[in-house]
Symmetry: C2
Subunit: 421 residues, 2 copies
């Protein structure tokens, strides 16, 4: 490296800005810091070029230098190890797809160790022909593949707190992930079982020790529900329901019953413990909402965010993720002045329904403290509200279905922290 002079100044910003604006749409200016160099020949060889590297492997792992990128805020109920959640480190990732190893977890009694050769799925209840499926049998059915987010109903629940949590983006909002799910349309099996066309409900039950169970409208089961067998190309991970899970695009996470063992067709909802004692949404007026299925439109700036601050005035890219359980993301707006003015962020393509949509916007920071916000609108016209209005409507008793606008304060020193603003 001796021949190479680095500098942190002198950004030739012209081309970058032109590109930034062209690539990223109007509304601000992009940014980065580069080190200049003056030379003609190649730089010295680093030590890792001086001897052969490692060999091939049967199944790869992340770089050791990225070992800090891991699921975070892992917490279980007292006295248990598997009744809790772990979160996706959203601020360390970039992409529509969440790597399966970092997909969030939410278990009600841990991850069962299921032998797929012994696992069965029963379809019974209001059907003419009860059916029992081995995994081997399921594996022979026609499949479809879809990219969809999955979000725990309780994601961002800490945002109901009276003061803003001092947490990273992932610790706060990391109960959302996005994968390609491949499996058998549930409709195929319900038709094969000759389910009563007048039965409006099904019950789905998992093979964990909690027998996690939820009632699902038959209309959803016959629409886009999947019996997911593959996640991001390979068979489901144990913590995501191996060997088979229910997948209900857009619906709150717990309804996507993992380790699925039973579907019962019924005339009423079953009113399971998981939909009476839990997964109801207590409102400000003391009433509780039940059966609130789709996760509402939501967005989050992941860069900058706590731990990923700014290193001085200059050009930056603001980027983040948006999603809606009710459809596609039609628009994401970003404010760099605390919500007084908004500019359109660019959405990455493809924009898929009920999937994470990336958004990006260039920004020139003048070095003064300010507040960054993002606001998503889905193709039903639903738009995120400011937090104070959201709390006024929903109250602060709830823990589920929080989807208000999120605010990050950029401080004069470039650090980013959470504020209610």
């Amino acid at each position: 490296m001796a021949r190479w002079k680095r500098s942190s100044d002198g950004l030739p910003r012209r081309a970058f800005l032109k590109q930034g604006v062209a690539l990223l749409g109007a509304g601000g200016l992009g940014a980065a810091s580069v080190a200049g160099a003056e030379a003609a020949g190649p730089p010295d060889s680093p030590p890792w070029m001086k001897s052969p590297g490692a060999g091939m492997s049967e199944y790869g792992s992340p770089a050791k230098h990225e070992a800090h990128v891991k699921r975070t805020a892992i917490a279980s109920r007292p006295g248990t190890t598997g009744s809790g959640a772990s979160r996706t480190p959203l601020e360390a990732l970039d992409g529509m797809i969440t790597p399966s190893g970092l997909h969030f977890e939410r278990h009600h009694s841990g991850v069962p160790d299921i032998d797929p050769s012994q696992h069965c799925l029963l379809i019974h209840g209001m059907v003419r022909r009860p059916l029992l499926f081995t995994v081997e049998a399921l594996m022979r059915y026609p499949r479809v593949s879809r990219i969809h987010f999955l979000e725990c109903a309780g994601n961002s629940g800490v945002m109901y707190n009276p003061s803003p949590p001092n947490l990273t983006a992932g610790q706060t909002h990391g109960l959302v992930s996005c994968s390609e799910w491949t499996g058998v349309p549930l409709r195929l099996l319900l038709e094969e079982a000759d389910a009563d066309p007048n039965a409006p409900w099904i019950l789905a039950e998992g093979a964990d020790a909690a027998a996690m169970s939820r009632s699902v409208p038959m209309a959803k089961a016959m629409d886009d529900a999947l019996l997911a067998l593959f996640q991001n190309g390979e068979r489901l991970r144990p913590e995501n329901g191996y060997p088979v899970r229910l997948f209900l695009p857009g619906y709150e996470g717990n309804m996507n019953v993992k380790w699925l063992r039973r579907i019962k067709v019924s005339s009423t909802p079953t009113m399971t413990k998981d939909e009476t004692s839990r997964y109801t949404d207590l409102q400000g007026d003391g009433k509780a909402l039940m059966f609130t299925y789709p996760m509402e439109v939501k967005s989050l700036i992941t860069r900058p965010s706590p731990g990923i601050g700014l290193s001085g005035p200059g050009l930056y890219e603001i980027s983040g993720i948006a999603w809606s359980g009710n459809g596609s993301i039609a628009r994401v707006e970003v404010s760099t002045d605390g919500g007084k003015t908004w500019g359109a962020a660019a959405r990455a393509t493809p924009v898929l329904p009920r999937a994470i949509t990336l958004f990006r916007m260039p920004w020139k920071w003048d070095g003064r403290p300010t507040v960054l916000k993002s606001r998503a609108t889905d193709d039903t016209g639903a738009v995120q509200q400011e937090r104070d209005r959201f709390i006024a409507e929903h109250g602060a008793n709830a823990i589920f279905h929080y989807n208000a606008i999120h605010a990050w304060a950029v401080q004069a020193n470039g650090e980013v922290k959470h504020v209610y603003a």
Copy 2:
């Protein structure tokens, strides 16, 4: 399970077939085997429901029962461990995305152990302003995310052999994978370096011990070339170029230089060892083609395939993957009679340019031996040829850029093997 009677007969195929045709398009009939059951209550609880399961983890792994799903046909040059390839087990996967742990590998001198805090990327040559980038600096640039396949030029090279290899789909064709790649448009940095607009070439050099180097047309560099930093949402894996690789959508794998350390803008191709002694395509007439960049349109049936046979006459889904380095997959046709007749397979959406497109078609097997083929057409109109015609045109001396129609023989016992037909 005592109360449950399973049977392997009595498939109520009506609903399934109707669905199959609706879902998968005309051209055949779908298939699967299910076990029937007669009962009203839930089945007995399996042992893994009787005590709490495992806790959360910081980074997940595949199910232990899937340990056989691994990169395959790992081979290195004699006396080396890292100069060779490992292949994606295509037949065990289903989805557009390849999990990063199973992405194929092709290294010329192993996987270097790079400290990202010491790694630099130099842009020099015919530029007004040579630039040296730390990884930290690169990480601050605007990014784009794209789902693209990557295919080694030598994928399917064994197909030039005079007799059909007795190998699985992945062992034969598994030097192709598909990921979401996120990174910085190379154009941004070339513009920032004030690259000479009349310089038609760049050289890209890797920081491995082979200093793997290829010449790339400036037109591609200024079009859709990326400096990829993320793969499937997380930072690149070491075997895929951590901390930064060049990504050239659609171009043969080796040009997507891993561990990228240098880009030199030049007036001519550099004629590196990697593009003169290797990665040229010897034709039947003894001439060799150089600089054959995009990987041609191609497809492969992965189910059924060797090791994933048929368990008797009945209904099945034929499925597989198609891709083209020149654009999007416009059509995939499947023949179940050795190429005499062809039917349209359904393409999974989204159909993305230079990405894997899944195809699926239902089929009713009558139990007689036959030959299955798939044939893809891309949106430039290019279509796969039968093997005999491909070999007649290209000769059998080559090892690169094989893209003829692939044939699987289904035998009377349901086993599947490779044939030239």
